[in-house]
Symmetry: C2
DNA sequence: TGTGATAGTTAGAAGCTATAACTCAGCGAC
DNA sequence: GTCGCTGAGTTATAGCTTCTAACTATCACA
């Protein structure tokens, strides 16, 4: 079985990428529930069951998409950091990324299927994002005393990947995440539809409130 | 057609309630995507298409469930207010309500289907909830000067149903909603799984931070 | 005792995921 | 160059889904 790895493997990878590309298109326009393997197969140019050579099941395809979404988010966040973005800059980058493809954000942070368990590597990527957020919060640290919740966090800091930031910084990073997600997910889900204020201003305000804590 | 309204109508209403009850059970244990009209029909004791006498389509059933969920949330929030709950008490009531049936909360605030438009009365109930939140924030008002975002809100206050609260209060109510949803939705979706802190403490802290703004 | 609305039935179309069994093309080994 | 294996694709099919059509039986009322 020492066959020409590159040729067959390259083809395989390219077809898998093709499938995922069409899957994203379907998801973007009608959400995950409307994702049909049959329809994708036809778009790719093969007939139905052939697609199962590339993804063992619908769930496996979706899992691959989730993984890619996490990867894309992590790359975006890191790129923003490398470009010198502070806390507000990161928030902007994440919001732009989310708005570019709402269903991609919601695939990660939206309604989960009760039984579903995300593969371990996605949680690894997720904590990669978290660590960038903590770094950013640490960079703007002015040495506040630990909040009560901060000390509570202190005793359970495994989630930060052992990041050595002080409790107040961990707390700020967590608040950053939850506040941004709070506004962003409601915005993407269309719950601000009637009310015509600018969500970007609200986020800015939420983060400013965080900085001066 | 001046028939015995009460008898037939009562039966109809009872069957509809039965159907919804089984639908909620399915949703609670496997989420909306797993909701099967066929399975429900068999559980209720009728065979397949009979269910379409009661709900014209799967979407219509789900819409009815969404409506009931909104109604239940509004009742919960109002009951908490009538019991004398302040801002933290309301947050607690909402969180308890959500944790009692996570999929019910996520049916309202989770990932929406791109094309779907919620019926108008649900948005009415939604603003009913909002007005209770604004009232609670107004009760704890100490007359802060309007925030910049508050004045921005001032010019677009239709969403508050014309509530006469000052800008700073509108702002606080909105922040209350987004902060609570931020923590709660991540909690319900299981994104705090690895990190073993207490979400309730984080919410408390987020709201305390809001009160002293 | 009729009569019309309504609740239920079975049959079936069209779609889905997924499996089974098969054909055919291409690569490696001899 | 030929043999044989591996893997990509096919069609057929099972079993599920939503939903429509056509039919029957029942129930309330005149």
């Amino acid at each position: 079985m020492t066959e020409n790895v590159s040729s067959r493997e390259r083809y395989r990878a390219q077809v898998r990428a093709d499938i995922k590309r069409h899957a994203w298109e379907q998801i973007a326009e009608a959400g995950v529930p409307a994702l049909s393997l049959n329809a994708i197969a036809k778009q790719v140019g093969m007939s139905g069951p052939a697609l199962y050579r590339y993804f063992a099941s619908r769930d496996e395809l979706i899992t691959a998409l989730i993984r890619d979404a996490y990867r894309s988010l992590a790359d975006t966040v890191r790129a923003a950091r490398d470009a010198g973005a502070g806390v507000p800059g990161l928030a902007h980058a994440i919001r732009d990324w989310a708005r570019a493809d709402p269903q991609r954000y919601l695939l990660i942070y939206g309604t989960p299927v009760p039984g579903y368990r995300a593969p371990d590597d996605t949680t690894a990527i997720s904590s990669e994002v978290m660590s960038v957020l903590i770094d950013a919060c640490a960079a703007e640290d002015v040495g506040e005393p630990p909040t009560p919740f901060g000390t509570h966090l202190e005793t359970h800091r495994e989630w930060a990947g052992g990041h050595p930031a002080p409790p107040a910084v961990l707390h700020r990073a967590l608040s950053f995440w939850t506040r941004l997600h709070g506004v962003l997910s409601l915005e993407l889900a269309g719950h601000f539809a009637g009310m015509k204020f600018d969500p970007d201003l609200l986020i800015t305000e939420e983060l400013a409130d965080l900085a001066g804590r």
